[in-house]
Symmetry: C2
């Protein structure tokens, strides 16, 4: 009944046959740890690049200051990166603890929690990057049909730094998507039942 998750204790973990499986599992865990550290770093870089970005311009006698708070999509991206960094930090702690203790730590409730968190973070960061990219495109090229002027000709340095922040966040999203694939693998393999090679057709 393990396929349905009925009659399987939360502490149930797969038993490995042969050292190659242990090696494979260790590699998966190392890859997960590296990716989570990478995400944490990229999230911080992206958030800092955007949040610290300002540029002052004097247009005739009017002094204008461009800040990331002028665009809600950038505020959303900074918030999303902050959440991603905090989440990844917690997960790095969990992964490290798991590796130090040498335990597999893949019981179903934990695997479900990690899977759900990773999925949520992947979709959240992608949505934030997409919205910020859309805003950046308007800022860069304007929208003549709607008489929205481009502002990057005025605030060039500001726009470049925002672009770097969005690029870092984009790489973070892709990494998060790969990681959510790994956590899906870690969860759903617990539901497998490859007892024989028969065909159920």
């Amino acid at each position: 009944m393990s396929y349905l998750g009925v009659g399987v204790s939360p502490g149930t973990v797969p038993v490995y046959h042969g050292s190659s499986l242990k090696v494979f599992d260790r590699r998966v865990r190392v890859a997960e740890l590296v990716l989570r550290c990478l995400i944490c770093g990229l999230a911080l870089i992206g958030a800092v690049l955007i949040a610290t970005d300002t540029q002052v311009k004097e247009i005739f006698t009017v002094r204008k200051k461009a800040r990331f708070t002028d665009m809600k999509a950038l505020v959303f991206l900074v918030a999303s990166n902050g959440i991603a960094a905090s989440y990844s930090l917690v997960q790095v702690g969990r992964c490290t603890l798991s590796m130090i203790r040498g335990s597999v730590l893949f019981n179903k409730p934990l695997a479900w929690a990690v899977f759900s968190g990773d999925q949520l973070m992947a979709y959240l960061s992608l949505a934030a990057v997409a919205a910020a990219t859309q805003s950046a495109l308007f800022a860069k090229f304007g929208q003549n049909e709607l008489q929205w002027m481009n502002i990057c000709s005025l605030y060039g340095k500001f726009c470049n730094q925002v672009g770097e922040g969005i690029a870092a966040s984009f790489i973070l999203s892709i990494t998060m998507i790969v990681l959510s694939g790994i956590s899906a693998f870690s969860l759903f393999r617990l539901y497998g039942e490859n007892k024989s090679k028969g065909n159920a057709r």
Copy 2:
């Protein structure tokens, strides 16, 4: 060695023990079929609502026509919905064929193809919806700091219909996310090895 996918033929499928597992598997397949039909319908509704939306206004003596092509994010959303509809139609065919033939049809290459396609579609449709929503928010509320005026006070009917199209596309994205979870389950359960309840610590 099935955990690593080594020594397992592509046609390997799980063998089910007890009728409850067959019932569960049938339910998963029915849910998948229903969700794919829903996605196909929503994608078409969203694309048609946005692509057919026009509004003509006369401002003084100038005649202006609002179309979805005025905003690249809407063009991207219509394209993404078109891809989602075509993809879902193909998948509905595969699911139906699978149910008529009564076969599980979950060999690893096919499961990998379905998983990859579903993941790609989920992320694509979410990114398209996020970008279109960002554009719609600019259109609805403008951005005073950048002197981008809101255009929905002028093209109210046009904006409402676009909003409905985005709403349909948003529900489609959520459905696609749920579906990509199901296909991840269908793929990665093939890598499971719950042979015993021992603890590998």
